[in-house]
């Protein structure tokens, strides 16, 4: 396949890749010091009333299997390097969703001595969902916005 026809074939391949990534975002959840209010709302999105499996989101156990890292909490000093290590374990392409006011800005725990503050001081974050805790619908709305943003630049990136 010579190079100049690559754009036609490459374009179709790129479209399929993005389609697959947007339609089966496997997620992994890490609580970096949250009060577990946001964590029970994240698990609530998996249960029958909200059921994110209709978007293809499945909670995975190992960082190797996951594409989206959903993390909560104001990143305590102790869990700071673990958060970085998990982010590095995940294969590309990977995305990070910060759920809750603590993950977005430290929330009530700003200024506590054993707290780093917000998630994007440790790892790059793609979507922020404020709320204390955000409703399960707000979490789904955040993930939908993230997935929509994946599709948009895919066309612009060429």
């Amino acid at each position: 396949m010579s190079v100049h026809t690559d754009s036609l074939w490459g374009g179709a391949l790129e479209k399929i890749k993005t389609w697959a990534r947007v339609n089966s975002p496997w997620a992994i959840h890490y609580n970096s010091g949250s009060c577990n209010g946001c964590d029970i709302e994240i698990v609530a999105t998996l249960t029958p009333r909200y059921d994110v499996e209709r978007f293809g989101i499945k909670l995975q156990g190992s960082p190797r299997h996951a594409d989206v890292l959903i993390c909560t909490g104001p990143v305590t000093l102790q869990s700071r390097d673990r958060l970085k290590r998990i982010y590095e374990q995940m294969p590309d392409p990977k995305f990070v969703v910060a759920v809750g006011s603590c993950a977005t800005s430290g929330g009530v725990f700003q200024g506590c001595y054993s707290v780093v503050g917000h998630i994007d001081e440790v790892i790059p974050v793609n979507a922020y969902i404020p709320g204390c805790p955000p409703r399960p619908e707000a979490i789904i709305d955040g993930v939908v916005k993230l997935l929509a943003s994946l599709q948009a630049p895919a066309k612009a990136k060429k």
């Binding site: 890749k17 697959a20 089966s24 249960t47 499996e53 209709r54 995975q60 299997h65 594409d67 294969p91």
Partner: protein, 304 residues
């Protein structure tokens, strides 16, 4: 040429991949509906596999790189070749020779063996425990499962699947050999590590069992191999125990009925510990099948 067609398109590769993905979707959708939720969209399993194949592949430093890459291919190959001997979709099996039932059984257990090897090869602690559990479970369900499938062979006095199916035209063997059918079905659940026998890949204990270190292509191939094995296993049990498969409609009817039974068991039971599953097999599974064999041989001896 026909063999290449069989291998690549009809009972083998492409067709089996599509069928495997469809059956996985049916399984996930059934489970979701049992749990009162909507469940995945129709193209979900295709999207999963495509995404896995285009994902970055990470090979752990401590693992043997060639072995790490080859094992998923071996696993899927095992399931693919087993499909050639099984009357998929009601048509005559692509190849059949004397004793192909035994070959199919060993091909089916090739996948579990390669998962065990993959677990040993990637030396993280979770995969080690996952591998030991997978192999312990393999040794515990393999014997009763094989004995259960050989029951109809004794009645038909041959080891060839097509002959066995032809000979057992009378009442479904489901009725005459109930123990054999139950053990075969439960054995298939054990082979596929479907809950309640999913101790080897118990998410809450050992993360993802033997496949924890796999990502991208390796994980996709293992996943696909397992789904193919589900399809092949269901057709095998349907062919032997439910009076053979004449046409595609009967094929889908019988295998989907078995799948519904498997999904119901998946939905209503708690995961058993590895020592409980092994105990269950040797205490009840093996004894039931041996009793049935005794009855068969006695009946064969008197009548024939």
């Amino acid at each position: 040429m026909r063999a290449l067609f069989n291998l690549l398109f009809f009972p083998g590769g492409l067709f089996l991949i599509v069928l495997a993905l469809a059956y996985e979707w049916v399984d996930r959708k059934l489970l979701a509906r049992f749990q009162n939720r909507i469940g995945p969209r129709w193209f979900q399993t295709v999207a999963d596999i495509v995404k896995l194949l285009v994902k970055e592949e990470i090979t752990p430093a401590t693992a043997h790189p060639i072995l790490f890459g080859v094992l998923p291919v071996v696993a899927m190959a095992g399931a693919l070749t087993a499909a050639l001997y099984v009357p998929l979709l009601g048509f005559r099996p692509a190849f059949s020779f004397k004793g192909d039932l035994i070959v199919t059984l060993y091909l089916l257990s090739l996948l579990t063996m390669s998962i065990g090897m993959a677990g040993w090869n990637s030396t993280s602690r979770f995969t080690m425990m996952g591998a030991t559990r997978a192999l312990t479970q393999l040794f515990s369900y393999e014997a009763p499962f094989m004995l259960a499938l050989l029951g109809p062979a004794i009645v038909a006095q041959s080891w060839q699947i097509s002959e066995i199916v032809a000979a057992n035209q009378g009442p479904w063997l489901l009725l005459t050999q109930p123990f054999g059918f139950v053990v075969a079905l439960i054995g298939l659940m054990g082979k596929l590590e479907m809950p309640p026998f999913d101790a080897p890949k118990a998410k809450t204990e050992i993360v993802a069992g033997a496949l924890t270190e796999y990502s991208g292509r390796g994980l996709g191939l293992f996943h696909l191999g397992k789904e193919m094995e589900l399809v092949v296993g269901l057709t095998l049990i349907a062919a032997l125990y439910m009076g053979g498969i004449a046409n595609p409609l009967e094929f889908f009817g019988k295998t989907l009925l078995l799948l519904v039974i498997l999904s119901t068991l998946h939905a209503i039971l708690t995961r058993l510990r590895i020592d409980q599953t092994v105990g269950l097999w040797w205490r009840y599974g093996a004894v039931a099948v041996l009793l049935q064999w005794l009855a068969l041989i006695a009946w064969k001896g008197i009548v024939a």
